[in-house]
Subunit: 244 residues, 2 copies
């Protein structure tokens, strides 16, 4: 039986989703918990990798098991075996042919930041500090440049191994709540560091360090202006992966 798991984690103390020789990964913690529960080693495949320090409330993963437990209850059996900073929120039997990575059609990320001159210890774990305050209308104009199918070559970190750099962004929205500003981005998929670089461009545009036209030009010519910073990992959270 293939099980589809939805996972939430605080990425602060992880080297990222993917198992590595050195460092504590989310994937490895989930695989260990599955082994403790079922007595068998199983590979846990995520909808995609999240980097060191990046959080998730809707990471989707699959694994194959013959453990005699209804799929809907699998996550409850798994949770006591997981550490406090990663938990399964639900589980179900995956439809035929389902692959958490290959079948993903759409992903939503949220980038959170707070605006203040002085660091606030109660925000810093889940949001980046931004100062001076970015203008909301300028940020929204910058968001609009990203909508649609583009070549995001200028918006990925070096070391990215993706075959194509063309992606479709379905939505990029700015909202505010509880003292935090959220940039919510929904797309067909994202390149290495793409959301953090987009956030840097949008916040930079809001602060007047670059214009919406500069973003348009970067999407057209594939070169990233030096004004666009990669925002820190702590502000990023994988909200959902959708499969239709």
């Amino acid at each position: 039986m293939r099980i589809k798991l939805t996972l939430a984690y605080d990425g602060t103390d992880f080297c990222g989703w993917q198992s590595q020789k050195n460092g504590r990964s989310v994937q490895q913690e989930v695989e260990e918990a599955v082994f403790k529960l079922t007595g068998k080693r199983a590979k846990v495949t995520g909808s995609g990798r999240t980097d060191a320090g990046v959080h998730a409330v809707g990471q989707v993963a699959h694994l194959d098991t013959d453990f005699p437990c209804p799929a809907q209850k699998f996550y409850k059996a798994l949770n006591p075996l997981l550490p406090g900073d990663v938990k399964a929120l639900s589980s179900e039997e995956a439809p035929a042919g389902f692959n958490a990575c290959a079948s993903a059609k759409k992903k939503t990320y949220r980038y959170s930041f707070y605006v203040t001159e002085t660091e606030n210890p109660l925000y810093m774990r889940y949001a980046a500090r931004v100062y001076p305050a970015p203008d909301e209308a300028l940020m929204k104009a910058a968001c609009a440049e990203f909508i649609g199918e583009h070549d995001f070559a200028a918006f990925r970190a070096s070391g990215s191994s993706a075959k194509t750099t063309v992606r479709t962004v379905y939505g990029a929205e700015i909202t505010k709540s509880c003292g935090v500003t959220f940039l919510t981005v929904c797309g067909s998929g994202f390149l290495y560091n793409m959301v953090r670089i987009m956030a840097g461009a949008i916040i930079g545009a809001g602060q007047g360090r670059l214009s919406a036209e500069d973003i348009r030009a970067a999407l057209e010519n594939g070169a990233r202006p030096k004004e666009i910073k990669t925002m820190p990992a702590c502000g990023l959270c994988l909200m959902s992966a959708e499969y239709f």
Copy 2:
């Protein structure tokens, strides 16, 4: 010169406000930073102690120094010398006779909780998990019982050394925002664990485990019913101390 400091801290990795022989306290970290800045040891007095794991966004403290720096800029000089989980948000010259502890007239605490059957790693640092969902009207009725001057003997932890257990609660309100429920309590002062025990009573009333009448009786006779649990420290945050 006496300086009034406003501090924010993530209490997770502290043994509490007050310096102790074993454990890392907020007070000690601030005193160390003051020593690094001024070259002199100075006692930093808080508006009150917060327990291990309890957070603050508006702890007020005072210290005496002859360091040649305008009082309004003192916090900016201090912050680079403080660890990431405690920062000063502002500083000013204290009025004559000011004492952060003795002069405090009013304090506001917030207790945060989220309602879900399954633990969520992204809430657990700053909110307690509650399940099943408490009824909001029942919680509000329970809140009303606390308003006014009462003997809170039933609502303090053993080991409390306060001379009198009479306190005045000015407000106790339930609000919801960003997926979290907040109990905001404002009072003349609070006994050891008093807000966490009040939160346990109010949430318990919301879950139907006790009634508003049970709370009234406990305030009258000084005995705590066994249905009232002390809620975990992680949900508690000192919001402000006021001095008029």
